[in-house]
Amino acid sequence: MEDLSKLVAFYQLRETQDFILRRIKGEYQTDPYGLDPEIIELMRPLLHFFYRTYWRVKVEGLEHVPATGRGLLVANHSGVLPWDGAMIATAIAEDHPAKRVMRNTFLHWFSELPFVSPLFVSLGCIPGLPENAIRLLEEDQLVCSFPEGVKGVGKLYKDRYQLARFGRGGFVQVALKTGAPLIPVAVVGAEETYPMLANAKPLARLLKLPYFPITPFFPLLGPLGTIPVPSRWKITFCPPIPTATYGPAAADDPLIVFELAEKVRSTIQATLNQRPKTRWPF
């Protein structure tokens, strides 16, 4: 028995060594958008831990995410750091029968951040520009958009679960141009990960950040304050809203665009409102 475990340890060590040597020589492949499968494999245990153990994410309506073909997921955004996107992607990668890769879109401002920007790219995220989303959807991929943007993640705790403005409807235009179904996604629990009591705007301006969160733990506890609160999460995938019937020309019709945007927004808000009023977040 002991010999066997030694053998296993030996092979694991050798595999790790091979992996490091290959990375040093640059012998790895990324996809055209910069997604690095090996980095995703490295991060998977961490995401799995957050998904199963830490936030105990409950998922509903995964059958509304297509097993093949394009789809534009639209989710509410909250919780200072974009953990919600990571958890939606993990839900589809782990619990969906097709185990699909979902591409999160991020605000291009994140590209300016050292370390964060290359990490996002290697995890398969793309800057949230219409051109990028259209290209991915035309390749029949799954893309997730957060139309609230910074107004969502920078929301105060007292405003939790109240959706902010849905941008200018750009996400609907993308769906119409590519005929991709819109899949509203409601995330409950991310609002509590960093309860933002106040936004220190002067500090944010000084550091050129979109917001500077004051939570019960940050900046009081320093780096420890960046550990998210282990709230209990629920992600609901709502029935898809088809857009192919309108045709690509509808993307230039503001009436249709705003009608669809409002439909998505109200679906998400209604799903969020269904959360138990006495819900204990932990």
């Binding site: 020589k25 492949q29 055209p32 951040l113 920007s117 520009l129 051109e131």
Partner: protein
């Protein structure tokens, strides 16, 4: 026999294009250069010397040139070109050449440009199409000269529609034989990168680029701008490692201080482009060239870099 004139025969890349083009049937190629060619140019008639605008027009007229291929961009293959002389040649020299083409009633002009003229900006799409308008300004240097020439030529043919213009925007040429800005960066000792950033870059093998120039020169109906890149982008650090080198991290604050003190070169080493390209990607989409020009890169980016790495290793061992 259709007469073609290639400006910039004295460069390695010019010779490469001449080799491909001059061996094609029905092609009479004249090569123009400041000095004699440095590599085999096939069946090209070579003219050397410095030509003024009117002299150029005279040559074009006398030889009844139909198509001009303009590759003479200083700063590509010389490692320490004087910046003022470079600008003179690249921008003003190119403007004079276009003027001469107009005077000599040249039908087609093929101009070399660069995919980096879109600039390094966070608002760039992941794959930049030819119609993209640059959203940031460029600092003086080779890339801005390409951008100036690109814009000037585009506006020039708008006013003179009798000239057909093809702009071939090439990714940085990299190969074991060519001296180019990015090859020099990748083969220097410990190339620097900015700590915390790892932009994706695109490269192109000179052979593939030469094929595209020959295609553009001989396919009569094609015009407009085309991005030319090897199959897939690679990460900057990955490119350095594949080229058999080790990337050296540089904190941005250190680089900022060096910039203020005027010690950029000492800290950054040889980086041929502006510093924004060390942070943000500028990745061009070459689908249009594949569709309309029927061009396809045969050397993949990783293969080019591996060859560069092994040629460097054999150089050290010998």
């Amino acid at each position: 026999m259709a007469v073609f004139l290639l400006n910039g025969i004295d460069t390695y890349f010019g010779a490469q294009v001449a080799q491909v083009l001059s061996n094609q049937a029905g092609v009479d190629l004249i090569g123009l250069g400041r000095s004699a060619p440095i590599a085999s140019v096939g069946q090209t008639t070579v003219l050397t010397g410095e030509f003024s605008g009117p002299q150029l027009a005279q040559v074009l007229q006398e030889k009844r040139v139909e198509t001009v291929i303009h590759l003479a961009m200083a700063g590509e293959e010389q490692s320490n070109a004087d910046s003022e002389a470079t600008l003179q040649q690249n921008v003003l020299g190119s403007m004079l050449l276009l003027g001469a083409c107009l005077a000599a009633k040249v039908k087609r002009v093929i101009i070399r440009s660069s995919t980096l003229i879109y600039g390094a900006s966070v608002t760039n799409p992941v794959f930049i199409p030819e119609k993209q308008v640059r959203s940031c300004s460029l600092k003086p240097g080779l890339i801005r000269e390409y951008a100036d020439l690109d814009t000037f030529a585009t506006n020039f043919v708008l006013k003179h529609p009798q000239i057909e213009l093809v702009l071939l925007r090439c990714a940085s040429l990299v190969g074991e034989k060519i001296s180019s800005p990015l090859t020099r960066y990748l083969t220097q000792r410990r190339p620097r990168f900015l700590l915390g950033f790892n932009p994706r870059i695109q490269i192109l093998h000179p052979e593939d680029a030469a094929k595209a120039f020959a295609l553009a020169a001989t396919s009569k109906k094609v015009s407009g701008a085309f991005n030319l890149v090897a199959d897939q982008p690679v990460l900057l650090k990955q490119a350095i490692r594949l080229a058999g080198n080790l990337p050296f991290p540089l904190p941005s604050s250190l680089l900022a201080t060096a910039n203020i003190l005027g010690q950029r070169r000492a800290v950054l080493g040889h980086w041929p482009f502006e510093q924004a390209f060390l942070r943000y990607s500028c990745i061009a989409d070459s689908q249009k060239a594949q569709r309309e020009l029927g061009w396809q890169a045969t050397h993949s980016a990783t293969a080019i870099l591996r060859t560069l790495g092994s040629s460097k290793a054999s150089l050290l061992n010998s």
